[in-house]
Amino acid sequence: MSMVKRMSPPSAARTGVWVGIGAITMSFAAYTSAMVVRHGSIPEWQHFTLPPILYWNSLVLVASSVTLEVARRRIGGPFDRLGHSETLLATKSREWLSWYRITLALSFAFLVGQYLAWQRLASEGVYLATSPSSSFFYVLTALHALHLVGGLAALVYALRCLRSDDGPRPVNVLAAAALYWHFMAVLWIYLLVVLALWV
């Protein structure tokens, strides 16, 4: 009688990421609706212009999603309906690796860009506690960056699995990490629109 517990099926990881996406969506909905309500009900709301670098950053983040998909296509398939795969066709060929590296580089570039945007605002005298609008700006961008760092960690972990493991597991880890990563890009676009309209 074997007394080990087996690894959860890959579908659980997918469900897990989707549930996580649901929770994160809900919490950002809470922040942004709080902001919209505040904007509507106080006279002293101060608007400020977003640092233009944010728009470039958005392009960088979307690009990282694209390069990640390119890398994923080259890693191998065939993927089933859920994006799982039984085989790792191309891990040996390594041609995916440069795309993966570009993805990681772009995500670092995004984080650095966000930091520059903060510096820009700080140099204009706009800090966290300056006004309600600046408070929301810093909170939303900081929390998005925090969630993004989590996604970056997942991508790095997936890379480690891809290099060390031959079974179906790395592809499934990557599928989960990639799903989360794309969500981070979508979330950022949403936040950018909200920030552009209200802060």
Binding site: S2, V4, G16, V19, M26
Partner: protein, 603 residues
């Protein structure tokens, strides 16, 4: 090991992979940082037990002071010399006790025990899994919750003590810091951090519950065949996922107001303790909206697991199928959905317009319909049954009673015009103690008497159990029923005493409540004795002492490390096969083979 039912349905196991985990060897991995859902469930229940004892002790100090406002409270001057020198309870200290009582009870008892505690132990087994989907997250969930509790309790040991803003921590007083009262400095900061951490722990838990229910079910375990308790935990985790995802942002914003000088919840020109606050642009009402958007669903997080526990036990003790299983689940789903549309009924007095009040009042009235349907289904299940009146059954009946009592007072409170009078009074205290506090506790008790044999492999003592039930039942009615009268008389809540004003006449009733509360607390000693005695000396439990149908009863008591001893159960029946004639008697277990005539299956 008797594995007859399981062995009838063995399937091929996939080969082991390097990612499978074997039972841990070291003490630390086995009992402390365990990945096993059964250990984690017990850890949650243990935390709940510590928390409920702490919370109850705090309530006795409050009750003693309410009944004897001029007397020093025994012992407390010695336990807390800085806050209550000589046993004298100041109004501020009373509020600190009340805040900690409410916070500990709502978060660390009513959320952890019925949901995270029993859910962790039972849900994976009931769906036929070997563990939760993400064991590491599961372990983190418990330890994060534990840290949250430690941070909260630490507030007792900081110079000004714990906060005094209540379990709802209304802004702006909770946001401006020290100047709004003792404990509103570091104590309140610790409170915010603790609750924020708690949210993370519960989010991790909900994630696991949902993924496990959706993806780790055994072969044949369709959604329609899920036991009612698993349905309830599943629904609770969906409520929790949304609710805690909103409370967490609220805590982050409140913390920033406190430590980073922002003004999310603090309006311009606010004067506190004769000092104008250096803030502008925030809204105290924003906190109330965020808090109650979480807060009302939270009350269902506390009670829906109880629904599931009762609905699982009732058919087993009534020996007949649960009435209307589909309606039961649909009603709980309706409650889950509606629970997000009613939060404003906690804010009728916040200055909202009468039309907004109506907008919240109507769904509040509507939400009583699914609650009433569930209650009727229980009564219909009990009606005309050959009830096996064991302790678990008694607590189920008690649950129905206190839930109806509390639900009825909610009906009054949901009308804005009546609530205007009752909002700030003991009527509300009576309402939520019945419907949330006591009902959820009865669910915990029923679950304990029911699942203890499975958890520890020993039976609890039924005689002690019945005494425990009888005294507890009398105790809760004697303690909380009179609070409705106090409320109708206009006795305000959150006041430390009423010695010399218009409420002077209520003192005898307050004394009666205090005596009842002490009596109620003392009756719990029977439970504690029973727990400890049965754990070590109780008669050895068979696999299926209650002749119940769900999967946890098809494995050993307690279950082996991988729950089913190396086999994969296959499910052929729903959980509701009671009052039938099968080879075992009047019930068919979920793993029994489909052909009724299976002579080998009767051991």
């Amino acid at each position: 090991m008797t594995m007859d039912s399981v062995s009838a349905s063995i399937t091929e196991l996939p080969p082991a992979t390097p990612h499978d985990h074997a039972p841990p060897e070291s003490f630390l991995r086995k009992y402390v940082f365990s990945l096993d859902h059964k250990v984690i469930g017990k850890q949650y229940l243990g935390l709940g037990l510590i928390a409920v004892c702490t919370g109850m002790f705090l309530s006795w100090v409050m009750r003693y002071h309410l009944a004897f406002p001029d007397k020093a409270v025994p012992l407390i001057g010695w336990i807390a010399p800085t806050f209550a020198a000589g046993g004298v309870i100041t109004p501020e200290f009373y509020l600190q006790l009340m805040t900690m009582h409410g916070t500990i009870m709502v978060f660390f008892v009513l959320t952890t025990a019925p949901f995270a505690g029993f859910g962790n132990f039972v849900l994976p087994i009931q769906v036929g899994a070997e563990d939760m989907a993400f064991p590491r997250f599961n372990m983190m969930s418990f330890w994060v919750t534990f840290v949250a509790f430690a941070v909260l309790v630490a507030a007792f040991f900081v110079p000004d003590g714990p906060p005094l803003s209540g379990w709802t921590a209304y802004a702006p007083l909770s946001a401006v810091g020290k100047s709004s009262g003792p404990g509103e400095g570091l104590g309140q900061t610790l409170w915010v951090i603790a609750i924020g951490i708690f949210c993370i722990g519960q989010l991790l838990g909900s994630l696991n519950f949902i993924a496990t229910t959706l993806d780790l079910r055994a072969k044949g375990m369709t959604l329609a065949r899920l036991p009612y308790s698993t349905w309830a935990w599943f629904i609770t985790s969906m409520i929790g996922l949304i609710a805690f995802s909103v409370l967490l942002p609220a805590c982050v914003l409140l913390l920033l107001d406190r430590v980073a000088g922002t003004s999310f919840f603090i309006p311009a020109g606010l004067v506190v303790s004769d000092a104008i606050q250096p803030h502008s642009g925030g809204s105290p009402l924003l906190w109330q909206h965020l808090f109650w958007f979480f807060g009302h669903p939270e009350v269902y997080i506390a009670i829906v697991p109880g629904f599931g526990i009762i609905s699982t036990i009732l058919p087993a003790v009534c020996r007949k199928p649960h009435l209307g299983p589909k309606v039961l689940i649909a009603s709980q789903l309706a409650i889950a959905g509606l629970s997000y549309m009613v939060w404003g009924h906690h804010m009728f007095l916040s200055g909202m317009s009468p039309s907004s009040a109506t907008l919240f009042s109507v769904p509040t009235l509507i939400i009583t319909i699914p609650s009433a349907i569930i209650t009727l289904l229980w009564l219909g299940t009990i009606y005309g049954s050959k009830l096996r009146l064991n302790t678990a059954a008694l607590f189920c009946l008690g649950f129905v009673s206190v839930f109806v009592t509390g639900g009825l007072s909610g009906f009054f409170l949901s009308q804005p015009s009546i609530d205007t009078y009752l909002h700030g009074t003991y009527f509300v205290v009576g309402h939520f103690h019945f419907v949330m506090g006591v009902a959820a506790m009865f669910g915990i008790f029923a679950g304990t008497y029911f699942w203890f044999p499975k958890m520890f492999g020993r039976m609890m003592n039924e005689t002690l159990g019945k005494w425990h039930f009888a005294l507890t039942f009398i105790g809760v009615y004697a303690t909380f029923m009179p609070m409705h009268w106090l409320g109708l008389e206009g006795n305000v809540r959150r006041y430390s005493s009423f010695p010399s004003d218009y409420m002077h006449g209520s003192l005898p009733l307050h004394r009666f409540i205090t005596y009842s509360a002490l009596f109620l607390g003392a009756s719990q000693l029977i439970f504690l004795v029973n727990l400890i005695w049965s754990r070590f000396r109780g008669p050895v439990a068979p696999d299926n002492p209650w002749e119940a149908t769900s999967l946890e009863w098809s494995t050993t008591s307690p279950p082996p490390f991988d729950n089913f001893g190396g086999v994969h159960p296959v499910v052929y029946h729903g959980p509701n096969e009671y009052g039938v004639s099968g080879p075992r008697g009047d019930y068919i277990m979920q793993t029994d083979p489909p052909v009724a005539a299976a002579p080998a299956a009767t051991a």
